[in-house]
């Protein structure tokens, strides 16, 4: 259930400018609206794309959140790989890494 809530937060912030504004002004209040695990809440607060990926965030949601944070493409890919390196394989969802840790599949 909580992965659903974490993804719901990503869905909301990706499409709603008012949520984006609240993110900048009152992150604590915004996150209180979602039933997040401490890991999820911490990863969002720390802008930890790698941990959010490992926790099972759908890439389509995560990619746009990374773009919202101003993260360049190569950094986004690297952050997910760093997340797997630090926290182990993806724990939930359908997005499991299938390439080797040091592969640069897209050339970045």
């Amino acid at each position: 259930m909580s992965l659903y809530q974490m993804q719901k937060f990503l869905f909301d912030i990706n499409r709603d400018r008012a949520v984006q504004q609240r993110y900048r002004e009152d992150l604590t209040g915004l996150l209180d609206r979602y039933e997040l695990t401490p890991d999820e809440r911490g990863a969002i607060a720390a802008r930890d794309i790698g941990l959010l990926y490992v926790l099972g965030a759908n890439g389509q949601l995560l990619m746009h959140y990374a773009a919202f944070l101003g993260m360049p493409w190569a950094d986004y890919i690297a952050a997910m790989r760093a997340g797997v390196s630090a926290h182990g394989p993806v724990r939930a969802g359908i997005y499991h890494m299938t390439t080797e840790m040091d592969e640069k599949v897209a050339g970045v």
């Binding site: 719901k8 389509q60 773009a67 359908i94 890494m97």
Partner: protein
């Protein structure tokens, strides 16, 4: 009047958003093939363009996920993504609510649909329109097949959706063009982004060009995920176009471009009886 144009194309956000990071010659060749598809489409003078897309949690989420949804508005907007990130400026896109309503009514005779009077286009529709109707002057009827949040509609239901779409297009006086957008094999937005199974793609495109219903519907989601990644689930949009067009396909462009995270595809299909 009837369906007057049918085709399929890729919609990955990198096609526009990361164009500057790809080999310029390779990117330009693909972009040129994409624009040429737009010229063939325009030559048919369509009154409306149906885009069957597989959107990515821009409008539809797991709180209320339709297998099939059809837009029913006079006006849409996009992209929902950061325009600079996608490389496409934010714009209004015309729709045609009355035409949508007539199409939906006819399609509902055989397929259960959700409809949406509000729809913010993501890259799944904006990237194709950027090349196909670059002035955003052709009314768009957006249609969506859930290819993101399992459980996904079975392939034979995507086929039935395409058949319903064709029947509906033939039932209205307007000239209707149809484009299905998606990826074949790809692992988008993951650390595997850029991985492409070209052999799998080419086999799929053979089946699609031959409009071999049995072969197209024989993929299982388990095998597709293993061989073509979670992005491979988007074959549903291409299968729906084959079911609607009932013709034979012609591949105009295919090239695996890892920076765009997909085998970049442009293909048309004749309109069969």
């Amino acid at each position: 009047m009837s369906l007057v144009f049918a085709g399929i194309s890729s919609h990955a956000p990198g096609i526009t958003g990361r164009a500057h990071l790809a080999d310029p010659g390779i990117a330009q060749e693909f972009h040129g093939a994409y624009r040429a598809m737009g010229e063939r489409l325009a030559a048919q003078n369509p009154d409306a363009l149906i885009v069957v897309a597989a959107e990515h949690f821009a409008n539809f989420f797991m709180n209320n996920m339709p297998s099939f949804a059809v837009g029913m508005a006079d006006r849409y907007e996009g992209p929902i993504e950061d325009p600079q990130w996608l490389g496409i400026a934010h714009t209004a896109v015309p729709g045609n609510a009355a035409l949508s309503k007539r199409l939906i009514r006819e399609m509902m005779q055989s397929v259960d649909l959700a409809y949406a009077e509000e729809w913010k286009f993501d890259h799944g529709i904006m990237v194709p329109l950027h090349f196909l109707t670059p002035r955003f002057d052709v009314p768009i009827i957006p249609m969506n097949i859930n290819c993101q949040g399992p459980p996904l509609t079975p392939l034979h239901r995507a086929w039935a959706f395409g058949e319903a779409l064709r029947r509906a297009a033939d039932s209205v006086p307007e000239r209707i063009a149809l484009v299905g957008t998606g990826g074949i094999s790809h692992w988008p937005a993951t650390p595997d982004s850029g991985k492409i199974n070209e052999a799998w793609d080419r086999e799929f495109l053979e089946r699609w060009q031959a409009n071999d219903k049995q072969a197209l519907l024989s993929y299982t989601d388990e095998a597709t995920y293993r061989d073509a990644g979670q992005g491979g689930f988007e074959i549903r949009t291409f299968i729906a176009v084959a079911a609607a067009a009932k013709g034979r396909g012609t591949l105009q462009h295919y090239r695996a471009i890892p920076m765009f995270a997909v085998g970049c595809t442009v293909a048309g299909m004749s309109i069969g009886a």
